[in-house]
Symmetry: C2
Subunit: 339 residues, 2 copies
DNA sequence: CTGAAAGCGCTAACAT
DNA sequence: ATGTTAGCGCTTTCAG
């Protein structure tokens, strides 16, 4: 069963294929009668436009490429969910690529997208990317590029992020306002702006309230349940006094929380715990985990909307890039609020 | 800056474009010297193959389309994660489409994929699809199709699922083995095989152990935290005696669990609770939630492997479809195990 | 309102 | 080992 083309429809109706093409694209200069006939025949012959041919000729694919570290993370899958919904409503398809935080994969993804002639690329860069050269291969080709959450700030590229500095600040100030004074910070060892910003917020909050910022209170590692446990274990082993833990990610906070409870320490009365990301489990655990919400779906939607707005510009890289910064939402729960 | 094509490379090197094409595709009949020269020039001119042209001509896109209800669900995003990783390793790109459980969206996704000439479609059908006609538009076009998790069993299409019947059976038998005798089942009102199978397992487990299967113990609704709470509320209001709840999904189980705890009922001592899906929160809540793991990432990987295996066949629809059925893994935790 | 013709960038059969 | 040629199925100018 060969595939139906506009030539087949043309032959049936005894018109030329270019008339058929116009009818199918709802061209104004085609009579209603012809359009109806073409549409009917197309349906009857089970015609499906070949987008490859159409894109090759027109230079537009209506496809965008999305690069994320991993979909097996509620943060990214939720943002992608938001992006896809909006882009889809606006006639775009989405090619998806996971990097697994590897630079080689990121390179492969970009190349694939470029070769597929996507109309734009939306990326949240992996932890291994540093320097701007890497992503310049995209701007050199004049392919529209947007970052979300993890941006490369040296590059004049639009982005949608949350205010991680403010998030770190607000989270820490919340702990301080609850009476905690010796606050440990657990953060990532990856070289990512988001974590540096959260740390800056933590640091500034302490300073603002005349609390010391101490090396021994800051732990870096691979964010995870285990890292949270280990860190608290190490703190206790070295008998460093602390009365609260602010982790840059919820699983890590959860690890800390679990370890504390196992050791019979009362949370939040003796030690307060604060996470980051608003994972689903936070609301369900006991004590419920205080955290910061990143507005994931909104981030995706805003990213898509910004893309749609900018794609109209003839000169994407000529205009100064727009940066949308979403507000983090503090979600105080029981783990950080002693009576 | 016009894009470089094989013609540009050919001109530089004073060969024909077909020599360049061959060199680029590592054709055996091209001298090493020419290949090297072509590769060097390609790199220098920043050449990127145009996959649209190549696919249009060759009839293969190396793109597969994935249809899922929503990425904002840990189950689906996790499976997609597994599919993407494997397909990507094998040179495929992935177009992603979310249906939001809507038939109209599902239709749109299929059409887009067909028009994009994907090499295959992997789908987990939405709750609104019934009958096989819908998906026959794909088989009619001879485009390889695979189902995962939610399949249409009337269609001779390969699939990767878990044994939901067994899962329901094992989960219920576990409850029975723990001494529970009046087990409520909370399930979905959607017309999906997965839920019917879980129910069948529940029913058969009761019958096997000479326990009555009663209408009043079975609640159908939109699976969610709220539905879990409501159902338990209603049970208590109508004073129907029960000693365990088996929900077909973890959030629903969590709702039931929370409501019971709020009412001062001891879980698991007075009432046992069992969920389904092994959501992250289950391990963290108190009491920890017993559940059934669906091997999501493995499901994705198996789906991809099956696809890769079958795509080789010249006659996809000629051979009897292979069905891979994964074993559900019972994860007994505290919510179902009284001392 | 419709037709004719060119060409997007590549693959692949057929030559040489 | 390389060149020639003919499309893949469409969009888009230029004609009429």
């Amino acid at each position: 069963m060969k595939k139906t083309t506009i030539h087949d429809i043309a032959r049936e109706l005894d018109v030329t294929f270019s008339t058929v093409a116009r009818a199918l694209n709802d061209h104004p200069a085609i009579s209603a009668a012809t359009k109806a006939a073409v549409l009917e025949t197309a349906k009857r012959l089970n015609y499906q436009q070949n987008k490859l041919a159409s894109s090759l000729r027109s230079g537009r694919t209506n496809v965008i490429g999305i690069i994320v570290p991993s979909l097996d993370t509620s943060f990214f899958s939720s943002v992608v969910h938001g992006i896809e919904r909006v882009m889809n409503e606006n006639g775009y398809s989405m090619l998806l690529f996971q990097t697994g935080e590897s630079l080689a994969q990121e390179q492969k993804g970009i190349e694939t997208f470029l070769q597929s002639r996507v109309d734009g690329i939306i990326s949240s860069v992996s932890g291994e990317v540093d320097g701007k050269e890497f992503y310049e291969q995209i701007s050199k080709r004049q392919v529209p590029l947007l970052f979300f959450d993890r941006a490369i700030h040296e590059l004049p590229v639009p982005s949608v992020t949350i205010d991680d500095y403010r998030a770190g600040l607000v989270a820490t100030e919340h702990l301080i306002s609850q009476g905690y004074k010796q606050i440990v910070h657990l953060t990532s060892d990856r070289n990512l702006t988001i974590f540096k910003e959260r740390f800056r917020g933590y640091r500034d909050a302490l300073q603002r309230h005349n609390l010391p910022v101490e090396e021994k209170m800051i732990y870096k590692g691979k964010l995870s349940l285990e890292f949270g446990k280990e860190s608290v274990q190490r703190l206790m082993d070295s008998e460093i006094p602390f009365d609260a833990v602010f982790a840059a990610e919820d699983y890590t906070a959860m690890g800390a929380l679990q370890f504390l409870l196992e050791k019979g320490i009362k949370v939040p009365d003796e030690i307060g715990v604060m996470g980051f990301a608003n994972e689903a489990f936070g609301a369900f655990v006991t004590p419920s985990l205080s955290t910061v919400d990143q507005q994931t779906i909104k981030m995706g939607e805003e990213t898509a909307h910004l893309f749609l707005k900018l794609i109209g510009n003839k000169d994407f890289y000529g205009s100064t890039p727009e940066h949308i910064v979403l507000d983090p939402i503090l979600i105080p729960r029981n783990s950080s609020q002693p009576l």
